[in-house]
Amino acid sequence: MLFIGMNLCSLLRKRCVLILIISFFVLITIVSADDDLPCYHCHTKVVNEFRNNIHYHKGFTCTDCHGGSTQSNTTSISIGVMSGDFIGGPTRNNITNTCSNCHVQEATDYKQSIHWEEIEKGHPEAATCTDCHGIHEIRAINDPKSLSNHQNSPTTCAKCHSNPEIMSAWYYGIKTDRFDTYKESFHWKALKSGYVVVATCADCHNNHDTKSHTDPTSSTYPDNLPQTCGKANCHPGTKFDAKIAAGLIHDKESLHTGRLVFNKTGMDVQMKSYYLGPFDLAYWIAIFFKILTAGVIGLFAGMVILDFLSRLRIYRRW
């Protein structure tokens, strides 16, 4: 017994020392931490992200979005913060309300978008402010690392729009090849090579009031395309009777699978013919050139090889 007791005793003593050392370091950390943000001690990762946030640089703190009291001191458990009107993480339906406290115009625009429409219909997966701007790491729009920077727009949109699970979550038929088809365009090829003054998603689909291309007020509605493409910095001088609409901007469909995709999405016949034209010419032209190239190069490369072989056999062929 005595043996065990002594062992327990020394164990306890060791633990006491350990606890003392730990609490000492915790105290040091608490006191010495750069402490404008009392949430740091528990939400270290989040706060570190927040330090890259444009709002942090402008003097906002956690409580501006999450509610609660800013009067708490730097005790290790900030009960004060979590009191009062503390809301924690806002639900996806409420994020816009939080942002709209300051960003009134943006929120008003956003509330006309198909994303907000879907959220209101009860599909919280639809994009809200944080999906495009980041949750805690909201960078300035002209920061190259920003999710919503002009050149990062394709990858940001593709997070959801290339994801079949999200796209088929509320109704079948939103195409997941939007980014892939954008990659076929000259815009992407130029962007990828560092020429950033080309159109990305938000330039045509509008950044906040994104609407379906079947909506007559949408910037991508066929009748509105001349105006959209003819923006001052893009292709000015585009006439209103320019025949932009009679073709697919996301190319691949008319190239390869146009008919199939349109049949699947159940678009009405008039719209379909408006987009595809009477005949899927691109498909047949691509096939024609495949055959022509393979034929001509195959034939003549074959001749080159035969020519070479014939020289091995007949040194003087004349």
């Binding site: 001509v296 020289r311 007949i314 004349w318």
Partner: protein, 250 residues
Amino acid sequence: MQKPRLLEVTEPEGSELTEGIAGEVLFKRFTFNQLVEHWVMIATFMLLVVTGMPVKFPDAWWSPVIINLVGGFEMRTHIHHFAGIGMVLLGIYHVVYHVFIDKEPLLERKVWPTLKDAGDFWQTILFYFGRAEHPKYGRYSWKEKFDYWGAFWGMVMLCVTGLIMLYPFVAMNYIPYAYVHLATIVHTDEALLATLFIFIVHWWNVHFSPEVFPMSKAWITGNLSEQQMKHEHPLEYEEAMRQMQTSEKP
């Protein structure tokens, strides 16, 4: 050593022919005008291939390498546009010169494909398998005619679609966007075909083939030696000799 004498086969009434042959004879193959056209073609074509292919294959590893090498994407685009306009002007000049300014009757040019070329084509294949004699070519062999008309067709396709792509929103006043999109397909696919043809077939014929290696100098001097003439264009050579003899007789 005697200076090589130039034989103008296309102009048998020329004074040089009456003097007969002494020393080495050179045969006029291309006029200086044609040589310059070819040089401009080489320069613009190479620039266009180098600046165009990285966009045809944007995911290839060499694509960013080449784009950086020519000075970034914007510079690539400028080079491509300027070289393209150069090639369009060359095409217009070529057609205008050889149709309206060149005195030789249009339909009597030796560049038009004939039935003999179809026969020669078949005979060449048979020759490669050791079943026939090598066909005797006139001024232009069927390969050279195919080269020329292939380039002609390619120039028309590439210049028209290239101009559509250069001014897409001007083009869209007349044709739908779908056809501008078609232009990109036609332009890049035709360019790939032309590039492969030039680099594989044309370069083999005039550059890498053991017969001419390291190169056939006709593209610089515009002349062929008697030896080359006998080998490559025997019918034209015989014709030239006949003309020379008839002009020597009186």
